[in-house]
């Protein structure tokens, strides 16, 4: 099976920032991303959980974005201002994708 090099960017960020992150991704010309729900977690600001919560004020989402390696830098640069001051973790992993014509 023909595979192509790609990067898997995983942004774990506050749920309230969803719109901002999406806007940045779209402006950076990212062709697609997927948002996963997050149940809870822990960090410097302590433990949290979504159980029983009504508002979005606390809690994170995970945004997964597969992109061509050449586009990584512009994506991260666009993402950086959104992350400043906000709670969030960004990891970039080397991966391989099928059907690269999509990216």
């Amino acid at each position: 099976m023909q595979m192509h090099d790609a990067k898997r960017v995983e942004v774990i960020i506050e749920a309230v920032m969803e719109k901002q992150v999406v806007r940045v991704l779209e402006e950076a010309g990212v062709s697609g991303f997927t948002i996963l729900p997050v149940l809870g977690g822990s960090g410097r600001s302590g433990r949290w959980t979504r159980e029983g919560m009504v508002g979005r004020a606390s809690g994170m989402i995970a945004v997964i974005c597969l992109i061509a390696p050449g586009r990584l830098d512009s994506l991260l640069e666009a993402l950086f201002p959104v992350l400043t001051d906000h709670i969030g973790v960004v990891s970039v992993t080397d991966t391989h994708i099928l059907r690269a014509e999509r990216f």
Binding site: S45, T49, G52, G55, A57
Partner: protein
């Protein structure tokens, strides 16, 4: 005084309050009793739907006049003004609190807590005391303006904060405002006929849902208290107990000035005394990310909300009964 105590006692022994206490206790004891997020959100949608609709239906029944518009305007003004009061009070009572944190907290106290509103109206209804149906619209109108004041306070204090078009839209078209006002409008338009259709869903079972919802709120409040730790200095606690009284005083003046019924004055006091814990915290995370959520959530949800729920509301009711006849 006797009346206050008896009202407070009666309130403290109502199922609604006892379920809140159960939730706090379960949470502090680290029980794994929790509600799924979807159920908590579903209950809150139900409550907004029900109180919006009931408010509108009541306006359609009693007719609306200028007083509705006036009350809404006064509510907006209160929501703009109260953050300044809260900001000043917090800076006096808790000197360690930064400008950013104080501005964020101030925004919460200018805005309102819809469940506190519901608890007050339930208690009024149980006591046979009428209030203006349009107070729901006033509640909706008071949600957002405080956010603007909070950001202004932060910017002025050099603490940054940003307010763009999107944030504006988000605040004004916030789901809870839209549902509350939408249901209010539909209740108003469809009046008695509409009420007859939905009453078995929104009237009789209301109290039961409220009990479950407050159980959930208690669990969440208890969690907040458990985490509170370092941020809760004596000064902060004092603010969380004094600010509702100060807010209530403003609400009292506004309610008397508007010539509201005793019930309406009590509601106005409750709205002014209550602190947002859904809409404003979310807005603050976006616009004032440097403010510490542990501080404002502990205050709004862990201190002021329980205070209003248990002692505040009966007090506001007693005062309004005394001063606005009844």
């Amino acid at each position: 005084m006797d009346q206050i105590l008896s009202l407070a006692g009666q309130n403290l022994l109502s199922p609604v309050i006892l379920f809140f206490v159960l939730g706090v206790a379960a949470s502090l004891a680290r029980s794994d009793l929790t509600f799924p997020e979807a159920i908590a959100k579903g209950m809150s949608l139900y409550l907004l739907f029900a109180i919006g609709f009931k408010g509108g239906a009541s306006v359609s029944q009693h007719g609306a006049d200028l007083s509705l518009g006036l009350a809404v305007v006064v509510g907006v003004v209160l929501s703009f003004v109260l953050p300044f009061v809260a900001f000043a009070l917090l800076r006096i009572l808790a000197r360690g609190v930064s400008v950013t944190d104080a501005a964020a907290v101030a925004g919460h106290y200018g805005s309102i807590s819809i469940v506190t509103f519901v608890a007050a109206t339930s208690l009024l209804t149980a006591g046979g005391i009428a209030h203006e149906g349009y107070m729901v619209a006033v509640a909706a109108a008071m949600e957002a303006p405080a956010i603007v004041s909070a950001l202004w306070l932060a910017v002025r204090g050099g603490a940054g904060g940003k307010m763009d078009k999107d944030l504006w839209r988000e605040i004004l078209l916030n789901g809870s405002i839209v549902l509350l006002l939408g249901a209010f409008a539909i209740g108003w338009i469809t009046g008695e006929r509409g009420m007859a259709e939905v009453a078995p869903f929104i009237v009789a079972p209301f109290k039961g849902v409220l009990c479950l919802f407050l159980l959930d709120m208690g669990i969440v409040a208890g969690r907040e208290l458990r985490k509170a730790g370092r941020v809760v200095t004596p000064g902060v606690v004092a603010f969380g107990l004094v600010m509702p009284l100060v807010g209530a005083a403003f609400g009292l003046a506004a309610g008397l000035g508007l010539g509201l019924s005793a019930g309406g004055v009590a509601v106005m006091m409750t709205l002014s005394a209550s602190a947002s814990y859904i809409a404003v915290p979310a807005a603050m995370r976006v616009a004032l990310p440097k403010a510490n959520p542990a501080l404002y959530l502990t205050l709004a949800l862990g201190i002021t909300f329980p205070f209003n729920l248990t002692l505040g509301i009966p007090l506001y009711m007693a005062i309004s009964q005394t001063l606005a006849g009844g």
